[in-house]
Symmetry: C2
Subunit: 245 residues, 2 copies
């Protein structure tokens, strides 16, 4: 791992961005924990085989994100470094899952819509396409940093008023409880990764080219009846999923 960190040219991805991505990831992996600083620009330029100005562009981007802060004469200090671990189990819950990894958890209800189920949503919820479903758009934060954006669908008939309940409790679990569903379990999770689109970039405070970890999840009640289908989009450099079998 001590080897040369390589970047590629003429690929449509600017060198400074490739380098920024590598450094951001290295910080997340604790590579520079000993000093609390990124190596000097001249050293990085040598490691990546590029000009010092190119490294400076990368560091400027990271500074813009609030990840590092350059101090003239000293070096480039690491400001923030976080990778939350998000467990996926039969009892997956967002807030409880993050648990003590963050001091403050927040959940914002961005939008609530009642609509007809698409083919995909109907299949996951065990409904007929066109059946009424409630869609919630939510944004979840840990210590004031956006962590994930989620789109959730619920059968409209059974969970009327879930948007209001969610807004009040900022928790799916508590919203379910208020509507008479005491417990539920995670039945299936599909994980993919993709580039973030413009809307997600803005809400998650990411820069273009950023990666999303995408979890498509279906929850059921204790009788196995689907109660929620959701597509959650996580900032890949801030979280990892853990699956304990």
């Amino acid at each position: 791992m001590a080897g040369l960190k390589q970047v590629q040219r003429q690929t449509g991805v600017a060198l400074w961005r490739q380098i920024a991505d590598r450094i951001r990831e290295a910080i997340g992996n604790g590579a520079y924990d000993e000093t609390g600083m990124v190596p000097p620009e001249t050293v990085l330029a040598l490691q990546f085989g590029v000009n010092r100005h190119t490294v400076r562009s990368a560091l400027a981007a990271l500074a813009q994100e609030g990840i590092v802060r350059a101090v003239q004469g000293r070096g480039t200090l690491i400001e923030r470094k976080e990778r939350l671990s998000f467990p996926i189990t039969r009892r997956t819950r967002f807030t409880a899952g993050i648990g003590d990894q963050a001091r403050e958890m927040r959940s914002l209800l961005l939008d609530e819509v009642t609509e007809e189920a698409s083919v995909e949503v109907a299949r996951w919820l065990g409904l007929k396409p066109g059946a009424q479903v409630i869609r919630l758009e939510t944004l979840r934060e840990a210590d004031r940093r956006p962590v994930s954006k989620a789109t959730s669908w619920f059968p409209a008939e059974r969970f009327a008023g879930i948007g209001e309940a969610y807004g009040k409790h900022q928790s799916i679990t508590k919203a379910f409880a208020e509507l008479g569903l005491a417990d539920y379990v995670r039945a299936t999770t599909e994980v993919t990764a993709a580039h973030a689109d413009t809307a997600d970039l803005a809400d998650l405070e990411l820069t273009p080219g950023a990666i999303l970890l995408i979890a498509k999840a279906m929850n059921t009640d204790l009788d196995g009846v689907p109660v929620q289908y959701s597509i959650s989009r996580f900032a890949a450099d801030r979280v990892q999923f853990t699956i304990e079998n």
Copy 2:
């Protein structure tokens, strides 16, 4: 979903690459299944709000990857479209997991090294740092398309000769069996996503900017003793993970 597909400028990621990524993903999601073709260049240019030449650069990149093929006078045909589903369960096995989703599975042993365990590897395998471990680098293909590249570590003492056994059987399960381990289970999986580095780009036949789904997994024998720690890197546009709870 019918809305404007937006791309961003001055982000270090060329517009043509952002557009190529979007189209590749749309193809993977079956967006153009009805026609089997990508919309005309002029239409895409309008949708993305860019010049037709920029769209052409994106399509040229996808053609280079073998995903589409442009035919003058007709349009741009979709050549290949695949997203394998890879289940993660207590009994996760690569070959069996992909199962009937591909006609032909192959597994190549790229390298075998006996080395001292790093802190991370030692922790996962329950060894002392510096203990002897065998590291295997493997490349797995489905229907001649590279799917994932994996680095695996095994306790050297218990599994001496596993490289040879793997090379013979092209299967971890069968290699374990030959060495006297009849059964094993997946204990823990951590999933993250990141940009591919140069070596992985080449082996997985990806283009820079491509995303990897990364699974760090630990397998144990039936007594709960760690037998394997692996870091598998999957081409994110070719696979998804499914977790059934």
